[in-house]
């Protein structure tokens, strides 16, 4: 049990920093931020807590609580993708995870998903922001049909996806 836990932890620990860098790097900060996991008590790790630390580019080391809404969202997505790299579920369903993100960060998430979505890693992303959903391969549009008082759907394949 200890071995399994430790395998998962060290795999995720090894991946988290690069994923966070991929999500936070920009022209202004080509190196991106820094992220890592630490064990509160390394004697018996599965008995104690794992602390997650993330530092946006060019910012000092600070408690996760003091990060802004958008900074926390980016850190959370990095953690989820790092966990996925150890235990790859076939698909992700994300419901308006971009709500707190500014346009620059929405673009980074959209690009990350486009680069990583494939036959074995599918993304279903609910979003209100055109800068995210216009990057998708297809859209599932949901509307309310007032006549029959019901939700209805239609799908649309976006041609330029092959870009």
């Amino acid at each position: 049990r200890y071995k399994l836990f430790y395998d998962a932890f060290s795999h995720i620990q090894g991946k988290i920093d690069q994923i966070y860098k991929d999500l936070t790097k920009s022209q202004a900060f080509p190196l991106g931020g820094t992220a890592y996991l630490s064990l509160e008590d390394s004697e018996e790790p599965y008995l104690d807590g794992i602390k997650y630390h993330a530092m946006p580019p060019m910012k000092r080391f600070r408690d996760m609580e003091q990060l802004s809404g958008g900074e926390k969202t980016m850190a959370a997505l990095a953690l989820l993708f790092a966990i996925h790299s150890y235990q790859p579920s076939p698909f992700f369903v994300l419901d308006e995870v971009d709500a707190a993100l500014d346009n620059a960060n929405v673009a980074k998430i959209a690009n990350y998903i486009r680069d990583h979505a494939n036959e074995k890693f599918q993304f279903i992303v609910i979003s209100l922001k055109s800068s995210l959903y216009e990057k998708a391969e297809s859209l599932v549009g949901i509307y309310r049909d007032q006549q029959v008082n019901s939700s209805r759907t239609l799908t649309l394949k976006l041609n330029d996806y092959e870009e």
């Binding site: 996760m64 076939p90 992700f92 279903i124 609910i126 549009g141």
Partner: protein
């Protein structure tokens, strides 16, 4: 593997039988507030075995489509309003109570083989599981999901509306529990 499409019947705001999809490697779900986007995520979560209290519902019957009918007399003021807006009285209490519903996920595994996962709510509120059309027990159903690396207990691949920011600042104990579940 991947999720190909969903078939729902009387699930939340989706009345009657509807096919949703196909889904691609990167599909985005869009639509106005209150249209039914999160209800679609609830349908995906429901068919995988997520409990109804995580789907904004206190019991499974809340997951079944309910039409426009007014319930209590407190609504009589509202009923008057509904009628004058030209809303027909669609659903009486009886019809709504006897309605059943289900969600079926059509899934394609890594070898391209199609699998059908179906979870239904019978008219008396029981839950049934079907795997490729055959009724099975929950444990068998969940085993088939785990074989596809779909670990519903960990739920690290489902991010419900409003939850994303808490994931980064969850307590160290919770993070340990999550890592334990996937290891």
């Amino acid at each position: 593997g991947r999720l190909v499409r969903l078939e729902v019947e009387n699930f939340k705001s989706y009345k009657g039988h509807q096919v949703i999809g196909p889904f691609h490697n990167f599909s985005s779900v869009i639509g106005p507030n209150g249209a039914g986007k999160s209800n679609l995520m609830d349908a995906i979560s429901f068919v995988l075995g997520v409990k109804s209290n995580k789907l904004r519902s206190s019991n499974v019957k809340d997951l079944i489509y309910r039409g426009r009918a007014m319930e209590t007399n407190q609504d009589s003021v509202v009923e008057g309003l509904a009628v004058n807006q030209g809303i027909d009285e669609e659903d009486d209490e009886e019809t709504a109570r006897n309605r059943s519903g289900y969600v079926m996920a059509v899934y394609e595994d890594d070898n391209g083989k199609e699998m059908r996962f179906m979870r239904s709510i019978t008219s008396n509120g029981d839950i049934e599981y079907r795997l490729n059309g055959r009724k099975v027990a929950y444990t068998r159903y969940n085993d088939a999901l785990e074989e596809q690396n779909i670990l519903v207990k960990a739920r690290n691949f489902l991010v419900f509306q409003g939850d994303i920011e808490h994931i980064a600042s969850q307590s160290p104990k919770d993070l340990t529990k999550l890592i334990e579940q996937i290891s």
